[in-house]
Symmetry: C2
Subunit: 772 residues, 2 copies
């Protein structure tokens, strides 16, 4: 069928399945879609951080020529939605359109659809809203004070609380040889996906069905929320993901604009309505990273044994809950995957403020946690005069263990990662050595991390399904609900399908992420797709293969269990001898006598247990990935500027389905990590984002990116498809600490407040000098 066949594709860096359409520019994004009669939709947002809505008058807007629909909450069923409903019903706190009060600058209260952009903008200006301004609160300290303005009904504005406690940390602290306290401050940040949010809704009047094209990481979650707020059957709502220009956690939820596009279409008698976010709206009104404060007090023995970790984590959640519970959990729970620890007490608080909504962003809370914990660990090691690599090796988790909070860790290459990264960077030769050249001082620093692949946090389950349809000429469709947002999951799933079915990669056509035509999949988050959707795909291919082999066995009057398919051949398992070509087998299936259409179906639900939010106990993921990272930096003592000169990443990813893709993910994560560590800072003034543009919000640029050396440790996970584990986020987790620790190694100051700006470095150097 194909001249250039890639046989046994798993483990090979095959080109992306969407490479041609991407590089040619033919790839379609929602923004590119247009329909006859399509309307322009716009959202009316609150200009106030906290206010009662007294009255909304849309009559003037409705009278404007060219306006086809105006909606407010009065046109809705006033049903709230939220992303962590299953565990925290009380975190379901947002209406598609607010009507009682607004809680941040940007809160959606109305929407219009008009024949063009100008008219839509004018219509917005004609909607008259009467507010009663309320006092607002913009930081967690003030928000948690008794008597602070109540943003929702929750006590002291604490939206989510996660008390984690195991062992006897007080006793353990007392028994420690060295105890220290640190406070770490982590700023907010934006996702900065190149493609802003776009929603295109179309309502079908006669059938009462909705189609929504939206830039999403989780079409089935969008559908679920939409079905809830519209009280519709899920099968009457079709959510379609086209190409997505990056999500990074920012496209995991139904947004009010998704809802508005659909309802405006309904109100317009079925005309399609497209709503697009400008870059400014994207920065100001979508989702953002939780700013956090980590207060840590920990104790160690002289031999390096961590005795106890205690403290609290306070996150600024902004106006609504979004993925708050998941983020606060991730901000705390990852420590159990990384360090053997018996005594722990960490209190997590996610606090409402009148800032914009904090939500999921690549790594969830793990990036914040990674910086705090891994900086803190370096300081603990330093306190007992131990090499920080040795300290980490001493305390790192082992394979096939159960942690104190009941995480079940099977494959675990963490210690190998640490050793390997140490070798790769020449840790022993470089760490702690003076490397000064004029004003420039070199330093080296380490961080380690672990990550989930999937997270048992979804409403009811964490499954994925796949369907494999083998056509009569042997070409193969793979239907998956998984959402490739640029990370290459369609490619990896095609490789897995081809490998398991025993055919060339080039046979596979992936059709993905359309809630109507593809099986359910919770979405692209928690680094779950390769692991969970990959297993579902493998199972679907196994099912298809079984059917093909049954027909071969019928024809040959043999037992189908004796056969397998490899490299486009049906073979005898016993001696791998060739029975017939795959094409021949398919011809047989579709022959006159058999007429057996090959449709394989697969499902995968990882064996996990949910986190108990009263204790922190539970096994959230079917397996865990691990890594160690080293940063080499140059610090300019005169200017305070930090330059990352080299990054090393050694990663236990189980087995790389597509090595080039995995390296790409690691490099992308590290670059994102460098950005958060050194540059990025989403700043607010009285609840208003003050740098909502790429000219004001600093991102790393290609010329500043260091060489990144990335190495795999293959642990061949027993649960993973072909041994593979997920890794879309984890390389981001230790980067900030590795850089901060390297800065310390260079100039002896530990920056505990991100981003590490030249000003902060200079100030710390000055303070150090002042101290003598």
């Amino acid at each position: 069928m194909n001249k250039n066949k890639t046989l046994s594709p798993v483990g090979k860096s095959v080109p992306r399945i969407d490479a041609r359409e991407k590089v040619s520019g033919e790839a379609k994004y929602v923004f590119d879609m247009t329909f006859p009669g399509m309307l322009v939709g716009k959202m009316l947002r609150s200009p106030h951080a906290h206010a009662k809505i007294l009255k909304i008058d849309t009559s003037k807007a409705l009278k404007l020529k060219g306006v086809k629909a105006v909606i407010t909450a009065e046109d809705t069923l006033k049903i709230k939605f939220g992303s962590n409903e299953f565990f925290f019903p009380y975190t379901v706190d947002q209406y598609p359109l607010e009507f009682e009060k607004v809680r941040y600058i940007g809160d959606e209260i109305a929407a219009v659809a008009a024949v063009d952009e100008e008219t839509a903008k004018e219509a917005l200006s004609l909607i008259e809203v009467e507010y009663e301004i309320l006092s607002a609160v913009f930081n967690t300290v003030d928000a948690m004070k008794p008597g602070a303005p109540q943003i929702h009904s929750s006590m002291n504005n604490i939206g989510v609380m996660l008390p984690v406690s195991f062992g006897n940390p007080d006793k353990a602290l007392k028994e420690s040889d060295y105890v220290r306290e640190d406070i770490f401050y982590l700023q907010s940040a934006a996702h900065c996906a190149l493609e802003p949010h776009v929603s295109l809704g179309q309502y079908e009047v006669s059938t009462n069905k909705i189609t929504l094209w939206t830039s999403t990481q989780a079409p089935f979650k969008v559908r679920e929320a939409m079905a809830k707020v519209l009280k519709m059957a899920t099968a009457d709502i079709r959510v379609i993901k086209l190409n997505v220009g990056g999500g990074f956690g920012g496209k995991l939820e139904m947004l009010p604009m998704d809802f508005a596009a659909c309802l405006l279409s309904k109100k317009s008698g079925g005309l399609p309505v497209k709503i697009t976010c400008s870059r400014e709206e994207e920065f100001s009104f979508t989702r953002r990273k939780h700013p956090m404060v980590y207060k840590l007090k920990s104790g160690v023995k002289k031999d390096g044994t961590i005795m106890a970790i205690t403290g609290e984590v306070i996150a600024d959640g902004g106006a609504y809950c979004s993925y708050g519970p998941t983020v606060i959990a991730a901000a705390i729970m990852r420590i159990f995957m990384v360090y053997k620890i018996e005594n722990i007490r960490l209190m997590g608080f996610r606090v409402y403020t009148n800032n914009s909504i904090s939500g999921a962003i690549r790594g969830f809370g793990g990036v914040q946690s990674g910086f705090a914990i891994e900086s803190h660990m370096d300081m603990l090691a330093r306190g007992i005069g131990m090499d920080s690599m040795e300290f980490r090796l001493k305390n790192a988790t082992d394979p096939n263990t159960v942690t104190v909070n009941k995480l079940i860790i099977s494959s675990n290459g963490l210690k190998d990662c640490i050793k390997k990264v140490g070798e790769a960077c020449g840790w022993k030769e470089k760490n702690g050595k003076d490397k000064t050249d004029g004003d420039i001082v070199c330093g080296i620093g380490m961080g380690i991390a672990a990550d989930v692949m999937g997270s048992k946090m979804y409403k009811s389950h964490e499954s994925a399904g796949s369907i494999i349809k083998v056509e009569e000429d042997g070409s193969v469709y793979l239907f998956t609900g998984a959402a490739d947002t640029g990370q290459g999951s369609d490619t990896a799933l095609a490789q897995i399908a081809a490998q398991e079915l025993g055919v060339a990669y080039e046979r596979i056509r992936v059709k993905a992420a359309d809630t109507e035509t593809t099986p359910f999949d919770t979405g692209s988050f928690a680094s779950r797709v390769t692991f969970i959707s990959g297993n579902a795909t493998k199972n679907a291919a196994t099912d298809a293969k079984k059917q093909i082999l049954e027909i071969v066995a019928l024809e040959l009057k043999c037992d189908s269990n004796d056969f397998d398919i490899h490299d486009e051949c049906v073979v005898k398992k016993a001696d791998n001898s060739k029975i017939m070509d795959f094409d021949k087998a398919i011809q047989l299936c579709y022959s006159f006598d058999y007429g057996r259409l090959i449709i394989g179906r697969g499902n995968y639900n990882p064996k996990t247990t949910p986190i108990d939010f009263r204790t922190g106990q539970g096994n959230v993921s079917g397996s865990y990935s691990f890594e160690a990272q080293v940063a080499e930096v140059e610090v300019n003592k005169k200017t305070g500027e930090v330059r990352v000169t080299k990054m090393y990443d050694v990663h236990d990813i189980g087995y790389p389905v597509n090595p080039a893709s995995v390296h790409g993910q690691i490099e992308g994560s590290i670059v994102m990590g460098i950005g958060y560590t050194l540059y990025e800072d989403l700043k607010f003034d009285q609840g208003r984002v003050v740098n909502p543009s790429f000219s004001k919000y600093r991102l790393p640029r290609s010329i500043g990116i260091p060489k990144i050396e990335s190495i795999f440790i293959e642990t061949n996970d027993p649960q993973g498809p072909f041994g593979a584990k997920g890794m879309g986020e984890s390389s981001l987790l230790p980067t900030a600490a590795a850089i901060a620790n390297a800065v310390y190694d260079a100039v002896g100051v530990q920056i505990k407040d991100l981003p590490i700006t030249p000003e902060k470095v200079l100030k710390a150097l000055k303070e150090k000098e002042d101290r003598g």
Copy 2:
């Protein structure tokens, strides 16, 4: 989920699943589709009936402003396509665009795509073609003569020959008490679907993929042909059927316009190209009914036993083969289903002429056969002085028999149909009685028929597949490749899915006939959909139900085999006691612990054997349907006008999935039969259709339609889904003979030449009078 639930829907006249969108006018047809930049395509057709193509010069057309592409055969791979390739490789005789010669007025030789209709038309006129005119032949008598112009390479222009011979017909004729010969003439006719053919092709440059929206009864057959002529993988061609405004056999094949729309899009750099047929093109250049001549010589015993049937059937096939073999087979083989007959010799010839292409039309050759055989049978009965109903009862086939040519007949209500229709119409009281009122004479006549449900004539198999996807809220998608062209199959399949899954009809959403997203299905023809696609759907629902019950059993620690689902409840099979609601069961499947996505898959391949075209042996269908029909007519002796006053149809359809739909099919068939019997006649002059419009081509109108009484005989076919058999065509088969026999009953003349025009009746009456 739904307030108005229809439980156990099979057997109930539920409203059509597409009723709302159809009656609101919101239903989309290909004609309604439009894309930005869409081009208008037009076909260049031969003005000659038979000519060599010497030269085609497209240069002037290409230079015209607004012309985006011009294609001729030189732009193609010059690969032929045909519809009966598997059995008759030599009948694959048509190029997508011809280049050596043209064989009928309308043969496609080039196509253009331009920015608008005017420009496209002008471009056509600028293409210069040099022809060398060849002698043409327009009737089968001339075409079969030695030395006739050779249209293809086949001897005497016989494209297909089917010699059927069993027993010793010569001996049996000699042993007969009464032998008679008759010749029947059957005219051509057009399908007259309200929606003409429309093709919209879109090529994707970067991925080399094609999407074709086309008005078709068989998207997978169109895809197969397209993949062949373009040498592409089937999975790179997506054929989508939207709503179809009738097919009646005329939309069963890829047409050159389908091909041209796709290739023009490719040549235009990926712009979509739409080609529509005008009504004139529809009449003149698509497909039409085979005109046929039946020469029959048969013998009977005095007791009514049919001893032998012999003769020949000659069909004018026009310029290309199309579905010729299937039609000629149907024109002969149906007799075995209807009459117990041991001695038979019938020679079938399908002859090439330079008329337009004859192809499939509702009933295939069965309509022609029905008229000839059932008229002939009346005359045979008359010859031995036997009541024609008694004669039919005497010779009709029985249940659970194997015919002389190895048809395996299981359920068979034919005799019950005959008896029942006799009772319903008052046969004994009316037949043969004088019913004269002035110039008006009443008459009554009968015809009987049988039909297949599916026909093992497809390239390689006759299967259908279905997928059932149960969403997390219990709403259900049914994916089927079956093509609803207005007959209501989507509705019937939804009923079958709901019945087997044990849920309300309202839960089902049907997604059909998209070669990408739905399983393979050969298409809507041979009355196969309810039977074959219905079984596939039932199997998919069984598979889905099994999975649901497995989860219920796991939860309850029971054996899933002890459970079933009925009327939205999981019940214990033993005592039908309720275990839990269906909704509860689905919640369980999609729960945290199980995370089991419900995807059912089903496949059905009837156990049949192909017809051996050297003898006529083979069991083409998994089961057979039967019927008896009676026509009551008034003949105006003065004007010769025949008016059908009442029709009775008693039909063994196994079990009616949707009684209203079945009645509708029967009524539609009968009306079509009345049209063919009395009015319709596609006329040619030197190969040119002379009446290509609804003003010149006479169709029956609503005011002329008689009351139709239709009655079901339920035989509960053991192979059929819930006992159902197919019946989309069979009511058309006996109508012409029933009317002709009624005319005889009224005025004593047997018209053997359709249509039965007033002129023919008057002429026959005159001849009868002249004979005295």
